[in-house]
């Protein structure tokens, strides 16, 4: 495969009706971060670790299901906490690999901006996507497969 790199930056801003302390706790407490970051109804991480301090590591492993193009292969994310200002900012760098092939490296900056209605969370994701990553969409493939399987299971019940 020819080496190729795609650079991408996106920003998501979302208002939460809670003070910055509440949001910061959801990022800094490993058990709570796992709940929204790593696990979902569709997919549960095989492993999740977070050592929340500057220089500490964040480690996520998913095992690709039999309904994906990569059955049994691990999708691994290894991150390093780059900066912490409590209740204000959390910066993480992270590299994602499929099996032993690296597919993307990202710098993720999360800022908590308090206002009268609560806290604006400003999420900035800057990344280099490597060959074979298929860009951000590749990560969703497993999910689509799972939804497809759910559809079939529901249809079979009718």
């Amino acid at each position: 495969m020819e080496p190729s790199t795609v650079h991408n930056t996106f920003v998501i801003e979302q208002l939460y009706p809670y003070p910055p302390e509440t949001l910061y706790a959801a990022f800094s407490d490993p058990a709570r971060k796992r709940r929204w970051f790593a696990d979902s109804e569709e997919r549960v991480a095989e492993q999740y670790d977070l050592d929340f301090r500057i220089g500490g590591l964040e480690h996520v492993i998913y095992r690709m299901g039999t309904n994906t193009p990569f059955p049994g292969i691990a999708l691994t994310t290894v991150g390093t906490v780059q900066d912490i200002i409590p209740n204000q900012r959390v910066v993480t760098s992270q590299t994602m690999s499929l099996g032993d092939r690296r597919i993307s490296s990202a710098l993720i900056t999360v800022e908590f901006l308090p206002n009268a209605a609560g806290t604006d969370l400003v999420f900035t994701h800057q990344a280099a996507f490597y060959e074979g990553s298929g860009g951000p969409e590749m990560r969703e493939q497993g999910w689509r497969g799972i939804f497809g399987r759910l559809e079939k299971a529901l249809a079979a019940q009718k």
Partner: protein, 110 residues
């Protein structure tokens, strides 16, 4: 990547027509009889029937005959499928931040 799910094809075909979306607008407020639907939209009973068949095939609308009146209402199944499709195609981080929102709601409702 192509998406060759015939159910999704039917859903988007059904939603691609302004009259059928108008039917969903009316039904999202309350169940309605077929004849009232025709009146509300200013179209013939035959046309309403054809649209309802297409909406029914992808489970966006269901119809039920009570006595002499055929009543139509929103069918949640089609909307759930649409919702699942949307979530699967949304960015992974959009979904994560929505889960964060749900988690905070749960934690703060106690």
């Amino acid at each position: 990547m192509t998406d060759n799910d015939p159910q999704i094809d039917r859903l988007f075909h059904a939603l691609g027509d302004p009259t059928r979306r108008a039917i969903l607008d009316v039904l999202s407020r309350a169940p309605t009889s077929v004849s009232r639907l025709a009146d509300a939209l200013g179209i013939t009973l035959t046309a309403v029937g054809q649209h309802l068949q297409i909406l029914g095939e992808c489970a966006l609308v269901k119809t039920e005959k009570v006595g002499r009146v055929r009543t139509c209402s929103i069918d949640a199944a089609g909307f759930d499928r649409l919702d699942a499709w949307t979530r699967a195609h949304r960015h992974v981080w959009k979904n994560r931040l929505e889960r964060l929102s749900q988690m905070l709601e749960e934690e703060n409702s106690d």
